[in-house]
Amino acid sequence: MADLKVNIGRLELKNPVLTASGTFGYGEEFADFIDLNRLGGIIVKGTTLHHREGNAYPRMAETPSGMLNAVGLQNKGVDYFIEHIYPRIKHYDSAIIVNVSGSIVEDYVATAEKLASLDKIPAIELNISCPNVKEGGMAFGTSCPGAKSVISAVRKVYPGSLMVKLSPNVTNIVDIAKVAEDEGADSVSLINTLLGMAVNAETRRPVLSTITGGLSGPAIKPVALRMVWQVYNAVKIPIIGLGGIMNATDAIEFFLAGATAIQIGTANFIDPQVTIKVIDGVNEYLDRHNIKSVKELTGSLIV
């Protein structure tokens, strides 16, 4: 049994496998299928200051080796989370991380402040990259001044571990990652979904109600790996890699490219037990290669 522990700044995870926000609900949805206590971390559904109904149906389109979504951050708001959901999930022996989204800087700050008071939430993931909200969201993550304004404001009020989720829909993701590091983020997670679109040729209409949406699944893995590698070579803070990870081999590839931990997203929809299979598979890989700790893999790509 290899050592699977990793450190994301001050936050220690028992293993490097987390669930990606928006693909795992609040964890409870998967309790019939896996032991949630085995996960390195659970990143819960994107949470905003106020209740959001999300976008109209249809919100999903299956695409080659992946899918598009346009959920639009449907959630009941941070107060509802704190009052009703947090008490149900806080006992899990797994790092519960809340993904925080907003339309204006003040909303991010107010949400982060409320979450800072919760003992069992050691970190938040700042979502400055959601392609499915009209205002804010990705707009913060696609320019350096935008990213700076929201990260620095949240950093001032949030003492816990701050993870910033980066958008791939930029000219140079390294620039945004550097801003996150400079503004005091403890880590960066990448990549969020790639902006995409699906068309129904027969009806001549877009498949999604919002016309465009976020592409996820194995289709985006090569893009995600490339971006993790680029960011790894440019910043010192830990990277949490995600984008199309379907199995342990995919996860290993992200570690080699520079990720300290990984998130599993869309794969949860196909196999609700995939997270556990990845944890076991990473361990098996390490044993097979006589590697004592998963930390040794990070950035060890032979080039």
Binding site: T23, F24, M67
Partner: protein
């Protein structure tokens, strides 16, 4: 209800017509309780052209044989791929999912209406209703008589009424053109599954007649377990996942303009 993920073995495959087939799957463990109207997320094994599981209505469960069956219409790449599965192979299935139909009690009349493959969840429902002592009438609407399948199975639980769009069997027209709609008040409840335009037309008539009505929705899904929030429908309480809050909804809880 607890959900299970299991590899189920295909023990029987019946090609019912050019576009319909029936898969009967067996488990090596005792099947859990499945309610009429619930569904399963079936992995499309070995398909290069599809990615996600497919939600399929539970067509029937036979606890004596420990089998669960699915009536499938070939509508796209996944259902076409699945049609080629051989007896003896296994399918990975997550079930039972969603909330089922709300059953009525003895000595009342129920009208079950299925459009096309929408008949799939009604057989198991009819069986349960009959067991409760309910008098079941099943109205099946198809385009042409060659699409009528499994009629004898439905007849086991009550009378079967038919409409065909081309008039090749039963009443010519859509299901709402059937004479049974002239006396809807004889029914305590209407249960329906099929194309949304059909269900809306039925909901309108049920509403006018003051008859309780439940519809089973077929929204596109990714996860099937309430995690992705893709399959939502607008309800009086906001957007709700069809996979966990449905697929069966009472028409009064939907925001349909009827």
């Amino acid at each position: 209800m607890k959900k299970y993920i299991q590899d189920l073995q295909v023990v029987n495959k019946m090609i019912l017509s050019k576009e319909y087939y029936l898969l009967e799957l067996s488990s090596n463990q005792p099947l859990p309780e499945v309610l009429p109207g619930q569904f399963a997320e079936v992995e499309i094994t070995g398909s290069d052209t599809t990615f996600l599981r497919r939600p399929l209505s539970v067509h029937d469960v036979d606890y004596d044989k420990n089998t669960i069956s699915f009536l499938v219409q070939i509508v796209g790449k996944a259902t076409k791929h699945l049609a080629n599965i051989e007896v003896g192979k296994t399918l990975n299935v997550i079930f039972p999912l969603g909330k089922g139909f709300e059953l009525i009690n003895n000595s009342e009349n129920a009208l079950l209406i299925g459009g096309g493959c929408g008949i799939a969840p009604l057989l198991y429902l009819a069986r349960h209703l009959k067991k409760q002592g309910v008098k079941v009438s099943t109205l099946i609407g198809v385009r042409r008589s060659s699409q009528l399948i499994e009629l004898d199975n439905y007849k086991k639980y009550g009378e079967v009424l038919i409409t065909t769009e081309d008039g090749s069997e039963g009443t010519k027209g859509y299901v709402v053109n059937h004479p049974v709609f002239e006396n809807l008040k004889q029914f305590k409840k209407i249960y329906t599954c099929g194309p949304e335009v059909m269900m809306k037309a039925i909901a309108k008539r049920a509403n006018e007649a003051g008859v309780d009505c439940e519809v089973s929705l077929e929204n596109m899904m990714a996860c099937g377990i309430g995690a992705c929030l893709c399959c939502v429908t607008e309800t009086t309480e906001g957007n709700k996942c069809v996979c966990t809050e449905g697929p069966v909804f009472n028409i009064h809880n939907l925001k349909w303009q009827i």
